[in-house]
């Protein structure tokens, strides 16, 4: 528990310093001149106030609904991304020919910065939930795809032979050897995938406008009104969402990969 005491201590000192330093005025009588200007980075007290206000019903789009929208699109993009990425990775990983044919297309598409696709995806899928999901998917898909592809290519040939000696047919080999070995690689890519899904969604929300909602929208809106406190609220909530999701996925990963030496309970 000593670790937790330290963590909380550091957080409290940080918040107190932030609050104190942004209250110091450079020239005491002149309003508006600060050593560290809260206009840019706001103050913990102001952020807390805005948080409560944004959560309340006094705003048209309350904070919790924006957070929900972000979480929802992230999870959808994540789920669709890992499923399609896994299937594609397995398919290409097991067929040399298909892998060779598709290789340049995949490399080209993957090296394209995903953010450059945002306007196009918005044009096609509109400003709503769907565009954000597609964006998250386009990132997650490739992470999972490359991992699964690698996994499917590196299936131990001796495991396949030993299954064959035990009487396995080709379908049984696929089910009991190839899919489990590839899945091990897929599962290992879940934690980075959820983080990248969140990135994709927020980027989508930046230009998605109000109909897309979400915390990315709150950030852009705060930029328009030069409201640092609202922006900080959005960042804090995003951070919390990121932590909770990463921890949740980590739990699932540990459970699914509990047979691996590095996940064994010590």
């Amino acid at each position: 528990m000593g670790v937790w005491a330290w963590r909380i201590g550091i957080l409290l000192v940080f918040l107190a310093a932030w609050e104190y330093l942004t209250g110091l005025k450079a020239i005491s009588k002149t309003p508006g001149l600060y050593w560290i200007d809260p206009f840019f980075i706001s103050r913990p007290s102001a952020i807390a106030q805005r948080f409560l206000f944004l959560m309340s019903d006094q705003v048209r789009l309350p904070l919790w609904r924006m957070a929900l929208s972000t979480v929802q699109s992230t999870l959808w993009g994540f789920l669709v991304g890992i499923t399609t990425g896994f299937v594609a990775g397995l398919l290409l990983g097991r067929s040399d020919r298909i892998a060779r044919v598709f290789d340049p297309f995949i490399v080209a598409f993957n090296s394209l910065p995903r953010i450059a696709l945002v306007p196009l995806i918005t044009m096609i899928f509109g400003f709503g939930l769907l565009a954000k999901i597609v964006l998250a998917w386009s990132i997650v898909f490739f992470i999972v795809f490359f991992n699964t592809f690698q996994g499917a290519r590196s299936v131990d040939a001796d495991l396949i032979s030993s299954a064959r000696f035990l009487g396995a047919g080709e379908r049984q080999i696929l089910r009991t050897v190839i899919v489990p070995s590839a899945l091990a690689w897929t599962f290992a890519s879940l934690t980075p995938s959820i983080s990248f899904a969140l990135i994709g969604v927020v980027v989508g929300e930046f230009i998605g406008g109000e109909s897309g909602g979400g915390l990315g929208y709150l950030i852009i809106q705060s930029l328009g009104t030069l409201n640092a406190a609202d922006m900080m609220v959005a960042l804090v909530v995003l951070g919390l969402i990121g932590i909770v999701m990463a921890l949740g996925i980590r739990q699932i990963e540990v459970r699914l990969l509990r047979w691996r030496p590095e996940y064994q309970k010590r």
Partner: protein, 261 residues
Amino acid sequence: MSRVRIAIRDLTKTFRQGPREVPAVSSVSFDVHDGEFVAIVGPSGCGKSTILNMIGSLVEATAGEILVDGARVSARPAPQIGYVFQKDTVFPWRTVERNIALGLEYRGVGRSEIDARVREAVKLAGLEGFEEAFPATLSGGMRQRVALMRSLVVNPEILLMDEPFGALDTHTKLNLHAELLGLWAQRHQTVVFVTHDLSEAITLADRIVVMTRRPGRIKLVYDVKLPRPRDVIGLRESAEYLKEYGEIWHALGEEFQERAS
């Protein structure tokens, strides 16, 4: 003499390495009879594992033929053959009992029968208490026990073993020799056992095929006359063991010397 299970005739294997052709096995012929335990020994690179892999359809022969129960080996291994690899081929994502159950699952054996036969195999291998353990938590010796039981639980009539105990320490190895001999005494499977360890071959086998260095030819076929059942530890102190060891060692030694010169 009992019937021939594996007949090997003028078996030759040449590997292509770029433009070069590397001969691995050169016109090898021998028979393995029903219920016989045959060991193949030879210096490393003599093609002994290649012979085993050709019997098991893992490698295609360049020339010659292999008949298993009178039928030429094809692309798929004959169903009566079981194979134990040197490498750890236990599936890491399956528990001990689910590994042992694999062959029965593949054959569509019913749930309750699988459970009964796996339980029996676990007991035979002394793996009680580890049924639910994942291979990563087991020692190398225990994993190889799981691999052995996984092959034996489907009752193969012919068992091919490719240096299955090669990676284990002497103590574990001796224990597994005793266990293997005990299991073999019950069912008398036809076994072809590849090893570079001469004492292992003498301890286990009825007959030893000694190979020359590459390209592998048969140097001599030696009948081990040690009585059974054999005591794997006491055996090594007996005069007969030492005499047989000396005779084969002499032949093997010539192969090592030729390499050195």
